[in-house]
């Protein structure tokens, strides 16, 4: 017997505004709304509602809203409603709880406890409307030898690098976890912006090879869709060792999201769950990682930087140090708030550490060891605004990965049910009639708008600090101050408390 669980959110319809047009009914893949012919009015079944706001946004008369349900068990600080419901759910099904998107629990958000500096009197702020304000970043190794040709000119001894017009890239989201149209929008937006998007572990649809010079191709433990043309097409190759939302386990793609096209792209059977192994079975240690890095470099003639992506875990500084000595050009670190298309809830909500602390300790460790210029550092999970980007760079990042913000720009309302595959916004679904709701032209424009806006804000903030190039912001921790942080937190972040002088 399944225990009834009262819905967490309720659909509220204003009968004075509703005109019975049935748009909400047609828009809801979860079949929440229906027209009651006897009563001649719309009705809703809130138990099916995921609170994606599709109906709210499309209702022509704004007759709908979704509210948090007031139904509650006896108040209990230890056994809150959600905790109790999850026990019921597991007793009903015997299954592992699955969730989507980033950890929603109220852990500290260090970005919000860090404040930025600005110039006053002794050094002038710079006005980005009137002076150049540079946000171009090159990612990759900077360490190289100084060599000259016969005429005394410097020779280019650098390893391959990626050039970004702004220190923001779209993070890995696989085709399969998100739709064809979403992938197309990311690819086109990255191309227009002069930055990169990331295929995630699902391979690259043949239609998108044309965006290869702005594409980072991922090689994950499942090796889905990995073959020579794929590696050759990307501008860089990312080895995914871990993901912030689910450190220690591999990707989960439910069979119902594996359409014919996804199946062809991933090179796996249609309709069968795609569960990536937790480890790469050819990498059980750091020396194995080195071999994979050089295998990939060898197979692409040393023309592409290799990124190694790891989840932020307790020992991330030592792990990063090992990676920096293993031939990787870029280390991507994914914080425990990073998004996912599907992850076991307990893992998502309890494993890993905040990206702010992971970044600070990795950057400090690599500098202590004198190997910070062996690699660039890219951080994600979760970067929510341009201010987060600026703080991340000042802590020591070269650039940031964004994904949740990118899907929000395309229309996502963070209902956190991507794993169900019925995304009403056409993003995290493979159902053709849902996918076509996402217009790639519009989504591209919205992504370009978002990143362009952030870049303007980054320029404004840098100008205020008297910094006119993002290179001079990187690792510039004197520009940061903590508020309400304890001594240990300040030490790990390597910053002083607000009110403390330079």
């Amino acid at each position: 017997m399944d225990m009834f669980i009262y819905p967490e959110y309720e659909v509220v319809r204003n009968p004075d505004l509703c005109i019975g047009c049935r748009v909400c009914e047609r828009q809801c893949a979860n079949e929440v709304h229906h027209y009651d012919f006897d009563l001649k009015k719309m009705a809703a079944d809130s138990t099916k509602c995921v609170n994606c706001h599709r109906c709210v946004c499309l209702c022509p008369t704004h007759a709908l809203k979704i509210v948090k349900s007031q139904d509650t068990y006896r108040t209990n600080a230890n056994w809150d409603n959600q905790t109790v419901n999850e026990v019921y759910r597991q007793a009903n099904s015997g299954g592992v709880l699955l969730s989507s998107m980033g950890n929603p629990k109220p852990f500290p958000i260090y970005w919000d406890k860090i404040l930025l500096n600005a110039s006053q009197v002794t050094n002038p702020p710079i006005d980005p409307l009137r002076e150049p304000m540079e946000t171009t970043v090159y990612l990759g190794k900077q360490k190289c030898s100084v060599e000259r040709d016969g005429s005394g000119k410097l020779k280019n001894t650098l390893s391959p690098q990626l050039k970004l017009n702004m220190p923001i890239m779209f993070s890995a989201m696989s085709y399969g976890s998100i739709s064809y149209n979403a992938h197309e929008a990311l690819a086109r937006a990255a191309t227009e912006l002069g930055t990169y998007y990331n295929t995630g572990e699902g391979g690259l649809h043949k239609d998108f090879y044309q965006y290869g010079k702005n594409t980072i191709v991922q090689v994950a433990s499942g090796r889905f869709g990995v073959f020579k043309d794929y590696l050759d097409t990307g501008a860089a190759i990312e080895i995914k060792m871990g993901q912030g939302a689910k450190p220690g386990i591999g990707g989960h793609l439910p069979g119902k999201k594996i359409s014919a096209d996804v199946s062809a792209t991933r090179m796996i059977p249609q309709g069968v769950d795609a569960i990536s192994p937790a480890p790469h079975h050819d990498i059980y240690s750091i020396e194995d990682l080195r071999q994979l890095i050089y295998s990939l470099k060898e197979s692409t003639n040393y023309k592409k930087p290799v990124i190694v992506k790891v989840a932020a875990v307790h020992n991330v500084a030592a792990i990063a140090s090992g990676i920096a000595r293993s031939g990787a050009d870029i280390i991507a670190i994914d914080g425990f708030r990073g998004g996912t298309g599907a992850a076991p809830t307990r893992i998502r909500d309890n494993v890993g550490i905040p990206i702010e602390l992971a970044l600070a300790s990795v950057d400090a460790r690599l500098r202590e060891e004198g190997i910070r210029d062996n690699v660039s550092i890219v951080v994600g999970g979760s970067i929510r605004s341009s201010a987060d980007v600026v703080k991340a760079i000042a802590l020591g990042a070269d650039a940031c990965y964004i994904a949740t913000a990118a899907v929000l720009a395309m229309g996502c309302h963070l209902c956190r049910t991507c794993n169900v595959g019925k995304c009403n916004w056409g993003i995290a679904t493979q159902v053709p009639e849902l996918v076509k709701r996402l217009n790639p032209d519009v989504a591209t424009e919205r992504l370009v708008n978002l990143v362009t806006a952030w870049n303007h804000e980054i320029q404004e903030i840098m100008g205020g600090m008297g910094i006119n190039s993002v290179e001079a912001l990187r690792g510039n921790r004197l520009m940061l101050r903590g508020v309400g942080l304890n001594e240990t937190e300040l030490n790990i972040l390597g910053i002083r408390h607000a009110g403390e002088s330079l």
Partner: protein
């Protein structure tokens, strides 16, 4: 209690001036005193100093170490350290005269040294790196001792006070060099510590600087990876180390180093010839963390020459003048005119434009 320089970072405005006789003819330090004193209002009496090149011809093959000691215990400990690492050719207190406004002077000593051959060989370092590391060890490890000058045939003289008083204090009229630089400081705090005055030097390199760089911590955290220890937390210190790293350790040319620290904007680079574009992009990609932003005007002193450089937006004033073999660099034109009213040429270098004046005999001293 106010913190000492090095425990906190103190922003400062300043005046700088420099002169070189490209024929190699030597002049006393008095002209610099006269030059800097016209810019009296750009300093506030909390720091002044001079660097002279070619001033120790009799000991030109020895490193001239200038040291401040807070007490005799620090001196004893340092001298033991120096004896373990160097042959000391000559040592004495640096001669000074009493000047009413200069107070609280530390013990000021000078040593002409050369590395002990056996120690040098055992260290597997080249001679300059050996000396630089010894300087860092004294400054970091011996409390109350501070090496403030460590080049060959050059010397730095500095103190808390107005620069013209500092010049009199050190009897600069008794030294003759082919090049001089000087500095008057306007810190926004009262450091009261002599080591915090400028010029700042390491080996032959000395830097006088006017400005407050916004890239400080990015530069510091990068350069510290290569063994430099920023004990003073001043811009001048980190700028000196950057030039030492780029010029001495990475063997860049002066113009290349200038393109690293005051890189052309990407948009400007795009307009250059292909050859120049390629080189400048390469330098920015190789040393992005050594780009210096925020206002600065500096004079870099080195064996055989001076280099003037402004930040790429030219947020600090700086002019260059020439008269015959002599070349002048200063924060304000008046500081040049006061010592040479009739100039062949005077101009204001653009932001990021390095002006290099070297001795005529290929940059080497006579």
């Amino acid at each position: 209690m106010l913190k000492k320089e090095g425990e906190i970072r103190i922003p400062a405005g300043c005046a700088i001036s420099g002169v070189i006789d490209r024929s190699g003819a030597r002049m006393s330090g008095e002209c610099m005193i006269e030059s800097i004193s016209t810019m009296h209002d750009r300093s506030n009496g909390l720091g002044g100093g001079f660097a002279g090149y070619g001033i120790y011809p009799d000991f030109k093959d020895f490193y001239a170490l200038h040291l401040f000691y807070d007490n005799t215990a620090a001196q004893r400990e340092t001298e033991e350290f120096l004896k373990r690492h160097f042959e000391i050719a000559y040592c004495s207190a640096i001669q000074t005269r009493k000047v009413a406004s200069i107070k609280d002077e530390p013990i000021i000593f000078r040593y002409f040294v050369s590395p002990l051959p056996r120690k040098l060989e055992a260290s597997q370092l080249d001679e300059e790196e050996y000396v630089a590391r010894c300087v860092f060890r004294v400054n970091v490890e011996i409390a109350g001792a501070y090496v403030f000058s460590s080049g060959k045939n050059m010397g730095i003289f500095k103190a808390v006070g107005f620069p013209e008083d500092v010049g009199k204090f050190y009897k600069l009229e008794e030294y003759e060099g082919y090049a001089w630089t000087c500095h008057g400081r306007y810190p926004t705090n009262t450091p009261g510590w002599w080591g915090g005055a400028h010029p700042f030097g390491l080996l032959d390199y000395s830097v006088v600087h006017n400005g407050e760089i916004s890239s400080y911590d990015a530069n510091r955290r990068y350069i510290e990876m290569f063994g430099y220890k920023c004990t003073l937390k001043t811009d001048t210190e980190v700028i000196t180390y950057i030039f030492d790293y780029l010029l001495r350790k990475r063997k860049l040319t002066l113009q290349e180093a200038a393109k690293v620290v005051a890189a052309s904007f990407w948009a400007t680079i795009d307009t250059k010839s292909e050859a120049e574009r390629e080189q400048e992009i390469l330098l920015r990609r190789m040393f992005p963390s050594l780009l210096i932003t925020g206002p600065f005007s500096i004079i870099l002193g080195f064996e055989g020459g001076l280099m003037a450089l402004n930040d790429r937006l030219k947020l600090r004033s700086m002019v260059c003048g020439e008269k015959g073999d002599k070349a002048y660099i200063a924060s304000e034109e008046c500081a040049i005119r006061v010592i040479e009213p009739e100039l062949d040429k005077i101009y204001s270098p653009a932001g990021g434009e390095a002006v290099v004046y070297t001795l005529k005999n290929g940059g080497k001293r006579e």
